[in-house]
Symmetry: C2
Subunit: 768 residues, 2 copies
């Protein structure tokens, strides 16, 4: 870490700039907005998991007083109606088939929601039922019904290998990722033991407090949407494609977003809202119910078969991973997620011979896409559970086994990728220490578990731009394409500006995100904003600083090199400072004008790297849990949870802790409670009563976040991204602790009382 002057704002727990607004309910989310003359939209969704669409008759619905229009397949043929994050396999409304129970078939625009709801019941749809596949096994079985027929798997994204080899044509596999190094056959021969285990991950939903909401206004060849989304620029690109417009005629505005977690990446309800506005020639408001968000996007259920060769001394020598990801009825980001899942299955360990095969598989269920962790969650659940299994089988301490194999700082994760940029041991030891690893739990049915995970930073080739404007009173506006979705980016990025420009945080405002005016940013995802956008923002502030010093030099009759910024003033050695506002007013000759700084960030492209671009940084998550299992009910109580995050430099420590806590509590959901349950192709629990997310009473009795700050990040002031890391170890740490507590090993999430109880019964009398 470079030596710097003492920080004044970066590194402090500045209160959130959007805090008061949000806790007082004044903050405006998309759903709080109205457009003049707007109608309310409702979507008619398929009741069947798989069927051919024979006939749709919307005449009765259109005749209902108060209905402005009904959108069906007949309307969209003039549009480029197919879209998708990786493949154009999804349609605004169903055209030939419906592919899951919930697939949009038609949409109504009416004077109010009740009328729109009523009109839905008047749309007459005739289906021809088709056999459905609703899980990985059914989908990959020979002769399985095809979710998509005749689709081609050609790569659509430059520099990436989306698509699948010819041999998967005519199957439900829509993407394949393969990677290998060394000779795994040979590796397994050299191993003393080879273990093979299979783990499963359930279908879960993001459960953002705010569901998917869009306002759209299509007028005179221009489309404006206000929407809860994480990647407005990508969305703009997709909408421009669908409606055949130049991007300059598509405007995406993002108000505050009430949680996203990947569920608001790429295209969701926006094409339906926009198409309704296009047809009805009036603004449209589309607010999905929670139950509809459940039918819009989910995390990928996965099956991970993992085969590891290990020496008697506990050295990992070879590993084979076979990952199946159930991407549901449409690919969405599935291929990207599957690629990452495959790549991240290598784990944080030194394994000379590895071979990974990852498959994205269509099923007749809700599409799965991006979700906090982006494929890592599923594979680390498997890998880090198996690490403990191996330790148990070898009779070795689970910590010791990990320490023996962890990659060192500077070591290569894979050919051409960024070397490991932090000390993996450090965090693991800190967690172990906080968990009192060596000390046996005093209560019965109690045990401890550890987990250690690493992920590269992100799914997309990252480009970010930022702009910082100083007005003639010295106050500053920040233009950034990072979406404030609760993670605290507004505050943290403003702290970067305040630090660089030596000014108070309350003089800085963040402008509303609007693709018409905000500099381009790929997306708010992959824990990367603090690094990627952080750098763009820092560079913009530095650019402004340079111009401000030049202006001050002119105004003050000094050389720019003799001047420095301090507490909102330009200071010369010995002289008294001139407030920024005075510098600008003097420079422009009146209380007018402004200084604009610009900054950009772009990932490096490298053909040497497996994924085409070395990772911006490595995100690491370490977790340790102490649990108590109730042998009578199988219920797991998390007594203590320790999380450690490598943040480089915490720009706002309280926000970092909040992100880390949030990630862990999030992880408790899929670990202990959450699962979308299907029966006969129907989702049984698309609501927050039957689908259980953790409540406050489910939180660990004791919780600690450890922020490791070594200034080792590429971001501003040595920061690196965080926010997903905490989530990755949760399931395995808890499962490992359960095994440690009561000697049963579970392979399927969530770890419900029923499953634990059954495993206990199967194992025989419980030990204390």
């Amino acid at each position: 870490m470079k030596q710097r002057h003492a920080f004044t704002i970066a590194g402090t727990a500045a209160p959130r700039l959007d805090g008061v607004e949000k806790v007082t309910g004044k903050a405006r989310y998309t759903g709080d907005l109205d457009l003049p003359g707007m109608g309310f939209a409702k979507i008619l969704r398929s009741s069947l998991p798989h069927a051919r669409l024979i006939r749709i008759d919307a005449r009765k619905a259109e005749a209902l007083p108060g209905v402005y229009t009904v959108l069906t397949r007949a309307d969209i043929t003039g549009l480029n109606y197919l879209y998708g994050a990786t493949y154009k396999d999804q349609s605004i409304v169903a055209v030939d088939k419906v592919r899951y129970a919930g697939d949009p078939v038609a949409a109504v625009l009416a004077v109010d929601e009740a009328t729109a709801e009523e009109a839905l019941t008047l749309i007459d749809v005739e289906y021809e039922d088709l056999p459905a596949v609703t899980n990985i096994e059914e989908a990959i079985a020979p002769g399985a019904p095809l979710v998509h027929e005749g689709e081609s798997f050609k790569a659509e994204l430059r520099g990436s290998q989306y698509g699948a080899p010819e041999k998967f044509k005519g199957t439900n596999v829509c993407y394949y990722f393969g990677y290998s190094r060394g000779d795994t056959e040979e590796g397994f021969k050299n191993a003393d033991y080879v273990y093979e285990d299979t783990f499963r991950f359930p279908k879960v939903q993001h459960c953002s407090l705010e569901p998917h909401v869009t306002l759209a206004s299509f007028e005179e060849g221009r489309l404006a949407v206000w929407t809860a989304c994480q990647d407005p620029f990508t969305l703009r690109d997709h909408l421009a494609g669908i409606f055949n417009l130049p991007m300059s005629r598509v405007r995406v505005i993002v108000p505050y977003v009430g949680g996203a977690y990947g569920g608001k990446l790429y295209v969701k309800g926006e094409p339906i809202a926009a198409a309704l506005s296009w047809k009805a020639r009036r603004p449209v408001k589309l607010v999905l119910h929670v139950s509809e968000s459940f039918k819009t996007i989910t995390r990928h259920p996965a099956r991970v078969r993992i085969k590891t060769g290990v020496t008697r001394a506990g050295r990992l020598v070879a590993r084979e991973c076979e990952v199946h990801m159930d991407t549901g009825a449409y690919a969405d980001a599935g291929p990207r997620v599957t690629q990452k899942a495959g790549y991240r299955a290598l784990g944080p360990y030194r394994i000379p011979c590895t071979k990974v095969a990852a498959y994205s598989v269509y099923t007749n269920t809700v599409p799965a896409g991006a979700f906090r962790g982006f494929g890592s969650v599923q594979v680390t659940w498997a890998c880090e559970s198996q690490m403990d299994l191996i330790a148990e089988r070898l009779g070795m301490d689970a910590l010791e086994l990990r320490l023996k194999n962890l990659l060192k700082k500077g070591e290569s994760y894979s050919r051409g990728d960024t070397p490991v940029d932090c000390d993996l041991k450090e965090g693991l030891l800190k967690v172990a220490e906080a968990l009192e690893w060596g000390r046996k739990p005093s209560s019965p049915y109690t045990g401890k578990g550890l987990s250690c995970c690493i992920k590269d930073a992100g799914g997309t080739f990252k480009i970010a731009g930022a702009m910082v404007k100083m007005s003639s009173d010295g106050s500053v506006g920040l233009l950034t394409g990072t979406v404030e979705l609760g993670q605290g980016s507004c505050t943290a990025l403003s702290q970067v500006v305040a630090e660089e420009l030596a000014m108070d945080l309350d003089q800085i405002s963040v402008a509303q995100l609007d693709t018409d005016v905000t500099p381009y940013d790929v997306s708010t995802s992959a824990s990367s904003s603090m690094t990627v956008m952080g750098l763009a923002v820092q560079r913009a502030a530095q650019d402004l600083k340079k111009q401000l010093l030049r202006a001050a030099a002119k105004v003050m009759g000094k050389k720019a090199a003799q001047l420095a910024l301090k507490s909102g003033k330009v200071c010369s050695r010995g002289g008294r400072g001139v407030p920024y506002g005075n510098v600008i007013a003097d420079y422009f000759g009146s209380k007018a004008g402004e200084i604009i700084g610009r900054g950009t960030y772009r990932d490096v492209i490298s053909k040497k790297a497996v994924l085409g671009s070395p990772t911006t940084f490595w995100e690491v998550g370490w977790g340790g849990a102490e649990v108590q299992v109730d042998p009578e009910t199988g219920a797991i109580q998390v007594l203590k949870y320790i999380s450690a995050a490598d943040v480089g430099k915490a720009i706002n420590p309280v926000q970092c802790e909040g992100q880390d806590e949030g990630a862990v509590f999030f992880g408790l959901g899929h670990t202990l409670y959450e699962e979308m349950i299907y029966e006969d192709g129907q989702l049984l629990n698309p609501n927050l009563v039957d689908y259980r997310v953790p409540a406050f009473c489910h939180l660990p009795r004791e919780f600690h976040s450890i922020l490791i700050e070594n200034g080792n990040g590429p971001g501003p002031f040595g920061a690196k991204g965080m926010g997903e890391g905490g989530l990755l170890p949760v399931a395995s740490a808890i499962a490992n602790a359960v095994s440690n507590a009561v000697g049963v090993r579970l392979y399927d999430l969530p770890l419900t009382p029923v499953k634990v109880w059954r495993a206990l019964q199967a194992k025989g009398p419980a030990r204390k």
Copy 2:
């Protein structure tokens, strides 16, 4: 004019980009917007022209169901409640006194307009009546009641001389501008004849189709306003001052504006709307009635005494001008307008000795401020009427007299100012020719008149910035602070971009004006946008072009100098072109990223110039009228009107013609019909029934706009500003034609039938 390649888009009559939207009623004006939870505001206005405010009791109004709050003087003491374009003499609501019938005393915010209206009637106000002054004569009479007591006339604006000498303390004069060159005493001695005449100009209103409308939302130390205004950045500065906020916490958004004409410059209804939102903690909508716009801002009534010395041969040798401008109850832009009126009284002629004294005078009438022409209209009415009087008295042809004295191109208007940048004779001769000047009218009671006027470009030191963004499909967004108020700036500025970037106009969009994100611009005023913002936009496009060529050079493996832009493609000699979008996508390695170009413009500051800064360009207006007078009624019919405008290069000829036509028809209003009539301090006709604006039936039977394009402007492609020029000659050209037709000379506008008839009666039997 520099030789250039042939223009493809600049210079063509491209259809307005906002045309379809506007004619179909889809365009959103401020009044079309709603904010969630907003209340509706109404203003209680003083019924008396001048009174001390003894007591205000709002309790009954506040108790009315549906009333959110009432704002009175008691609420605003914590704010910097005084504001004003030049002096802080105006208060959000009246504090000590009311100074005109219509002065805001209190404001109500309620659930709807009707409730707000009703609540107004429940506010109990006790006044102590004070004697009022309602015209210039009353205001400057010795011992006149003072509109403002104890006010100081200190200059508030850097580099300008706003304020008035000590001797005006304790009078109603709030600003004095003096200028002289040569010895006028001596000059008059050398003259063969000295003529002195006094002319009057009435109080008129802007009559924008859209009245003053503001939405305000004050929340958590941030103020956002959507408002119909011409200078959002200046407004932001004022609001930041009133509410003690950094500018970065004040956001001004300007939707389409339905006409402005200067009436929406500086601060109007915004502080009341913002203060109501601040007090009520909810959004506010304030829509003034037409009658309230009449009570918000007007043009300055003026009295211009003009004394000119001339030789027998018709050479002007000396002139003294005394200009009194009635600025109403508050200064608003009055001092600026008065300064310009004084400066512009010099006229387009060579006069060795001149002396000007201009006074801004407070009266107990509606404040007067900026209005299309900005002081020129009043003084050119006087000067160009007197030119014909002189010609008549000398028995000389009015055209010949003018031609003899007109400044030549390159001659100095005043010390330190930009030399005259066009051929004044050229336009005058063109108008004369089109009017068949030498040919006697064939009908009886018919006559012709000419007028020629010059004005410097604008009231404020001009600074403008612009940004042009090209997305990864090659389409472009333009960020400009110029307000589209009907003048066609969106289209014309986009044409500049399209021309520079060799692309289609339909690929270009103009972003909504929002001070949070749009680069700074002083104001949309003074016919200067096409030059000032035009240059900023052109430079931004050129900056983008440079970067695009650099990126293309890299992608295409050529040198940037070998490449050129043509029809949306980067072309190398002989090679086929690469579309802009492909260049960007290749350069960034994915369909992502963008190229941003920036441009700025800044006026020169010069202490040598009389007004501190030489004018950006000279705006010239030439007009000629042929009229017929009905001797029975005194009614004037304009048979033919010829207008000529020096536009340098017409970026969009049809829009230029539209602006010029509009200016002339506008001028017909104050020439023939418009006048705000006061009786006992009460405005009698604040509505569009009793206050008459020209209707289609009043337009000249024959009308021609002549656009003179010599490429002599400093703007893009040789353009210069236009839009006010056409307005300036109208009144004098018509009055001169009336004199020519029936031999009566009128000194007071408007030239109503009654005035003409009386003059005819006074003169004796009408000649044919």
